[in-house]
């Protein structure tokens, strides 16, 4: 007996477009941050640690709202963008705690 599968495109569980974009934005931000850290840039480029992660965060949130599609990329994108924002916040706080000069 041959098993058949119902031909419904929605059942393929592809990730949401916004989730994918969120993940992509997070990867681009992380890559930029890595470059800034490795070349020991004194002033971090804000676009990689603030603007892009904020955009990625909202894309990730949008990507979570789906019933039939996979939320995998949206969850990764959201997590990475939240990490980047927390990273920025903690780095600012800890930098002020190291040899602070008025």
């Amino acid at each position: 007996m041959e098993l058949g599968v119902k031909k419904k495109r929605g059942d393929r569980r592809l990730p949401t477009i916004s989730g994918f974009l969120s993940f992509l934005v997070a990867l681009i931000s992380l890559a930029g941050l890595n470059v800034a850290l490795l070349i020991k840039e004194k002033v971090f480029p804000g676009v990689f640690i603030i603007q892009l992660p904020i955009v990625g965060f909202f894309l990730g949130v949008i990507g979570l709202f789906t019933l039939k599609r996979s939320r995998l990329y949206a969850i990764w994108g959201l997590s990475l963008n939240i990490f980047l924002l927390i990273f920025t916040l903690l780095m600012i706080i800890s930098s002020l705690g190291i040899n602070y000069k008025p």
């Binding site: 007996m1 041959e2 098993l3 058949g4 599968v5 119902k6 031909k7 393929r12 592809l14 990730p15 993940f23 992509l24 997070a26 990867l27 992380l30 890559a31 941050l33 890595n34 850290l37 490795l38 020991k40 995998l72 990329y73 990764w76 990475l80 990490f83 980047l84 990273f87 903690l90 780095m91 706080i93 800890s94 930098s95 002020l96 705690g97 190291i98 040899n99 602070y100 000069k101």
Partner: protein, 340 residues
């Protein structure tokens, strides 16, 4: 009983036929569609793998950096290390200070390095005496890389033969006349820094009263019970411990205190360094500070000085030759006139 069994088999057969009919109604995928599904699945899996692997790899550097920053920031660990390093300079290097506000720090992966300039007061001006670069791995310092700009720097490895300040009971390894000759032959329009060793231990204010007026007492070398031998109990050479003689108005200086005298600040610093002796010993020239016993000695005997660093016009410094309490003098740095 047999009727029940037959009924059950009929039901089963009926259900099976219904299901088979349903299955036969479902059209199986064509070869092309199956290939398409497999290709999409493969691409999806490949893309997911690449993106997740990339994300994990890209997280390594930020997590390491953040961990390091948090390590140094939590509990003010970096500031504490910087405090120990800068205060070590004040109490182990005669007539030397630094501008803490200009101290630069750089945090790397589980490491931090600090760089700062040190200054000496010669005459009325502070001259840049050199630069220190100190690397920490977490809270363990390496030996500092020093770039000294002095004409007559103190030896990096202390030795009885090359020291400049001597306890009354320690022998003086250089010819006294030579040092006075240097001072006498310097032109009058210069200012100089001299290291003087005394004939006897005395209180700082007593020494101050002995000195001619037109010069400045900069740094006092304090008797800590080991200066006569110039080595610690293990035979490792030691260097003088002391403190600036004057109130320091610069805002970063530990000796800018309205409610404490310089002696009290000095004792506080020694207590701090005692608790952080491994760091202090890396920064100081002497590789043994023996702070526990030296601090206990000072607390018991009080602050008695056996030597000092004095700066002023060369012409005035020559008058020190007439002070009988001065046993030996060594000339340090000399600069052009800046006394007025």
């Amino acid at each position: 009983m047999s009727e029940d069994k037959n009924q059950f088999e009929d039901d089963y057969q009926k259900l099976l036929n219904e299901t088979l009919n349903e299955v036969s109604e479902i059209q199986s995928y064509s070869k092309k569609s199956q290939t398409e599904i497999v290709t999409i699945g493969k691409n999806m899996a490949r893309r997911t793998n690449i993106m997740i692997s990339l994300a994990i790899l890209l997280l390594i550097v930020p997590i390491m950096t953040l961990t390091t920053y948090l390590y140094y920031a939590i509990g003010g660990r970096a500031d504490h290390l910087i405090d120990v390093v800068t205060k070590t300079i004040y109490v182990t290097e005669p007539n030397m200070g630094l501008e803490k506000l200009k101290l630069e720090d750089e945090v790397g992966f589980f490491s931090m390095n600090i760089t700062f300039d040190v200054f000496k007061r010669i005459g009325k001006e502070d001259y840049r005496a050199g630069n220190y670069k100190l690397d920490f791995f977490l809270d363990h310092p390496n030996f500092p890389k020093k770039n000294m700009l002095l004409d007559r720097p103190l030896p990096e490895i202390p030795d009885k033969e090359t020291e400049v300040l001597f306890h009354p009971k320690a022998s003086i390894p250089f010819n006294q006349t030579d040092q006075w000759d240097i001072l006498n032959k310097l032109p009058d329009g210069t200012v100089a820094e001299v290291y003087v060793s005394l004939n006897e231990l005395m209180k700082p204010d007593v020494l101050q009263k002995q000195l001619p007026k037109n010069m400045e007492l900069r740094w006092l070398a304090v008797d800590t019970g080991m200066e006569a031998a110039q080595v610690d109990k293990g035979g490792v050479p030691i260097t003088p411990l002391g403190y600036p003689a004057q109130y320091d108005p610069t805002i970063w200086s530990p000796f800018r205190s309205y409610d404490q005298t310089n002696e009290e600040v000095f004792l506080d610093i020694l207590s701090l360094l005692e608790k952080n002796q491994p760091v202090a010993e890396k920064v100081a020239r002497a590789k043994s500070l023996a702070l526990k016993s030296r601090l206990a000695y000072i607390k018991k005997q009080g602050i008695n000085v056996y030597g000092a660093v004095i700066t002023g016009p060369t012409e005035e410094l020559r008058k020190l030759q007439n002070i009988k309490e001065i046993r030996a003098l060594k000339v340090g740095e000399v600069k052009l006139w800046n006394w007025e």
